[in-house]
């Protein structure tokens, strides 16, 4: 599982980074066509980057479930709750 995880997790993270990069680039290019609308695209790029930590923690949670490692499951749930509660308190993201 660990070898598989060491391949899958970086692939997930890299995909998120690439999507965020493409959206940011599209946003910058679109800025010179329609500055108002480009803000939405750039916002999407930023939000995509904020998904990266959640993807990391969720991947570790799944790893924990697969390995029946209850410490890993517990820790990832606690961290998700801590981040989630703070985000709710600040206000959930919107475009």
């Amino acid at each position: 599982m660990d070898l598989k995880f060491n391949r899958i997790y970086p692939a997930i993270l890299f995909t998120i980074l690439i999507i965020s990069l493409i959206l940011s680039l599209a946003g910058i290019i679109y800025h010179f066509i329609d500055p108002g609308y480009s803000i939405y695209i750039m916002n999407l790029g930023v939000l995509m980057l904020y998904i990266a930590p959640f993807a990391s923690i969720s991947s570790i949670f799944i790893k924990g479930v697969h390995n029946r490692d209850y410490t890993l499951i517990g820790l990832s749930i606690i961290l998700l709750i801590v981040i989630g509660l703070n985000m709710i308190e600040l206000g959930l993201p919107s475009l």
């Binding site: 998120i16 940011s24 570790i60």
Partner: protein, 256 residues
């Protein structure tokens, strides 16, 4: 606006290249360059720096995760308090005046610059099978302050996290660096979110920060293998000492 977009890209790209060559995020270089060089207000510079660090650290995490140099369990334990520190630090930063932030940043730069010039080698202990509770508690508490500095000053905090893991928790340096990068990607996202929701993050410039951070980290990690890192560390250290003086003087109202 085009000149600002290009300026932010150049600053963040070059900082990420230099930072990745010596294994740091580059926040110590990004904030002073954006503030002193491009005239961006320090709060906005910190927000942009944190955003680019998410891209830099996530990019590094990809490399370290593939090599298996991340201790996920330890990372999650320490990250719980680090995230709380980052949220707190970012909230405090919004309340502080630019001059106080500049002086705080300048003082911290003196420490980082000194550490860059006079590289401190950590003495690794034999890896502990079971981590004593008192050491773990000390690590958890120190991590809160690493997160606090990250959220407050727009840095990754690796400069504090790695020593905590190596010196307090007895983790091998390479694993400590990998785990630190994994943690930074989460910490910086948490801190950055506070700035995003407060409306301090300039979305137009955010795009070039993400692109600059990601591309710079990719190039820097490849160049770092070929170039003499010791010399870069020395140059980096001296630049930081100059920046620290400029930041402190500007914070005190003496324009430089």
């Amino acid at each position: 606006m085009l000149s600002e977009i290009i300026g932010v890209f150049i600053v963040i790209f070059s900082s990420a290249v230099l930072g990745s060559m010596i294994g740091v995020g580059g926040g110590f270089l990004i904030v002073p360059l954006l503030t002193l060089g491009l005239g961006i207000p320090i709060h906005n510079a910190i927000a942009l720096s944190l955003l680019s660090i998410i891209a830099v650290a996530s990019s590094a995490t990809v490399t370290y995760a593939s090599s298996g140099y991340i201790d996920y369990k330890l990372g999650l334990i320490l990250e719980t308090t680090t995230v709380l520190g980052a949220f707190t630090g970012a909230r405090i930063c919004i309340l502080l005046s630019p001059s106080i932030l500049m002086i705080t940043f300048g003082v911290l730069l003196i420490y980082v610059g000194y550490r860059m010039i006079k590289k401190i080698e950590f003495k690794e202990e034999a890896k502990l099978r079971e981590l004593p509770l008192n050491r773990l508690s000390a690590g958890i508490i120190s991590s809160f302050f690493a997160g606090l500095s990250s959220g407050l000053l727009g840095i990754g905090g690796g400069i504090l996290k790695v020593p905590i893991m190596v010196l307090i928790l007895g983790i091998p340096t390479r694993v400590a660096i990998g785990t630190s990068e994994f943690m930074i990607s989460i910490t910086s996202a948490s801190g950055s979110y506070v700035y995003y929701k407060a409306g301090i993050l300039n979305t137009t410039l955010a795009g070039s920060a993400i692109i600059g951070g990601f591309l710079g980290a990719q190039l820097g990690s490849r160049l770092g293998i070929k170039i003499r890192v010791k010399l870069i560390r020395m140059i980096f250290g001296f630049i930081m000492l100059i920046f620290s003086m400029s930041m402190i003087l500007r914070g005190l109202g003496i324009w430089i």
